[in-house]
Amino acid sequence: MSADLTELYQQVILDHNRRPRNRGKLPTANRVAHGDNPSCGDQCSVYLRLEGDRIADLSFDGSGCAISQASASLMTTRLKGKTAAEAEALFQQFHDIVTTGQAPEEISDLGAFAGVHAFPARIKCATLGWHAALNALKGDPVPATTETHND
């Protein structure tokens, strides 16, 4: 396997793809947004419970390639407890990682996505969940759903 491909499919990414965290609808969510990638059909919904300015809990659901699913999964673990401003700042850092391939030391597991930069067509996959999350933060409140899916 080439170095580029090994970089793209890091262990962290494979692990999140195989065992996604916080996947399924969040029954207590009061914000939701849906993102899709029209060119390839990838979809991602993000459910948030915003308490004041802070993300008390979040989850994602959707379908797509290993990169998009792992990215959304990892994102949910990193955004819990963050304020909207902090989430925005973290996304900026993540965006820099996937577009430049440079990951600052302190960014830890998100740095696994640095390999995406060698595959420009996949940047949209890596950022799909993040865009949905930021849109959910900006969006209007929604009634919490009672349905859950845990798959």
Binding site: L5, D42, Q43, G64, A66, I67
Partner: protein, 409 residues
């Protein structure tokens, strides 16, 4: 110099390259086909020797360009066995051809009329009809596709209920770009005509892959793209029966399509000029004529046998892979196979294949409603053409095995 099967690959310069350090295995022919040297040379020759505007000049170059352009029209007419070259309208491709008929026919539709399409249409033969229905108040209905993997093709039994006298247009594909299903075009056209509906056939995936005779099929309109049959991009054809075209209002207006103009209005030329406003794509039409020569020298019946044999072999080999779901007919199929793995997404498959030099398509193939019906968001597709070989299928299968192993490890 006519091409021969023994050196078909030698005729296509692009095939002789390495991708990611591996010999290119081009299996994305459903998206676009590669071009033989003869077509590339025709484009260069036109621009180096004959380039000029058509139908306007009296000078030598303009006459040469006009002759070559109209010669291409006649060549295309012969390619699909149209009764008259005037039945061949040059367009940008399938999409523009269908938009042209959908807008022009749509203008005559009214509430209560029905446009019938099928569940396996490419977005290009779906969205223009949605727009025509919205604009006119007509209703759009669909012939269902049968089977969990769409293996049963179109539900021909349901057609009896669906093809009512209210149906004014029946639009359907000849060969599905996602499923590989070959539809019984002649039968569908006959049944459409029996209720007074016009038939519109999407031949994007068929015209360069199988002998095609519009008169034998009995279709009213037929659309295709040059780039999927070894011709240039940006050129395609709308075939329409002469009697219909002369009654059809033009879609675009401007220079070249008018018989006479005064400040208050204009009168249209007959087909085909009526539908070709502005300077046409002369060079690519000529290139497409040369692509017809190339394909017919090999014989489309032979190309069909070759593609179908590859698709059959690929289908059988793919079926041995764990966790695979194969779409479309289990028997006779066009030269492509779409599949999905339980645990590996199509994009990951395509990225891994690319590393092995194999060009595949992953995604919804402009067939989103069908995908949704089948409970899928994307599939991987391998599509074959005259220059592909059985050895390339072996490379494909080895690449897929490696991908499955990586993701299941």
């Amino acid at each position: 110099m006519s091409p021969s099967w023994n050196d078909v690959r030698a005729d296509f310069p692009i095939l002789h390259q390495q991708v990611n350090g591996k010999p290119l295995v081009y299996l994305d022919n459903g998206a676009t086909a590669q071009k033989p040297k003869a077509v590339i040379d025709a484009l260069v020759r036109y621009y180096e020797r004959d380039n000029s505007n058509v139908h306007r000049g009296l000078h030598a170059l303009s006459m040469r360009a006009t002759d070559a352009y109209e010669g291409a029209r006649s060549r295309l007419a012969r390619f699909i066995h149209a009764a008259d070259p005037a039945e061949v309208i040059f367009t940008r491709g399938t999409t523009e051809s269908i938009n042209l008929v959908a807008r022009s026919l749509g203008a005559k539709l009214k509430a209560g009329d029905v446009i019938l399409a099928t569940e396996m249409e490419h977005h290009s033969n779906l969205v223009p009809w949605q727009q025509a229905a919205k604009a006119s108040g007509a209703t759009l209905r669909f012939v269902p596709v049968v089977g969990a993997n769409a293996e049963g093709g179109l539900d021909l039994a349901a057609l009896d209920q669906l093809l009512t006298p209210q149906v004014k247009v029946f639009a359907f594909t000849h060969i599905s770009n996602t499923l590989g299903t070959i539809n019984p075009v002649a039968e569908l056209c006959r049944r459409a005509r029996a209720v007074g509906a016009l038939s519109v056939v999407d031949a994007a995936q068929s015209v360069g892959h199988t002998p095609l005779d519009v008169q034998a099929l009995g279709c009213d309109y037929l659309a295709f793209s040059g780039h999927k049959m070894c011709g240039p991009t940006g050129i395609g054809v709308l075939y329409g029966r002469r009697a219909l075209l002369d009654q059809l209002a033009p879609d675009e207006t401007g220079g070249g399509m008018v018989a006479s103009v005064d400040f208050d209005g204009a009168r249209w030329k007959p087909a085909p000029e009526r539908f070709e406003a502005g300077t046409p794509n002369v060079a690519d039409a000529i290139g497409l004529g040369v692509a017809c020569d190339y394909l017919d020298a090999l014989g489309r019946d032979a190309i069909k046998r070759h593609d179908h044999a590859l698709a059959r072999r690929a289908y059988a080999e793919l079926a041995t892979l764990p966790g695979i779901r194969l779409l479309g007919p289990t028997g006779e199929r066009g030269g492509l196979v779409s599949f999905a793995f339980e645990h590996v997404h199509a994009h990951d498959v395509v990225t891994f294949a690319d590393e092995d030099g194999v060009a595949l398509r992953g995604g919804h193939h402009c067939n989103q409603p069908l995908m949704r019906k089948l409970g899928l968001t994307s599939t991987t597709r391998a599509s074959f053409y005259l220059y592909n070989t059985p050895e390339e299928i072996d490379v494909l299968i080895a690449s897929l095995r490696r991908t499955l192993k990586f993701f299941q490890a």
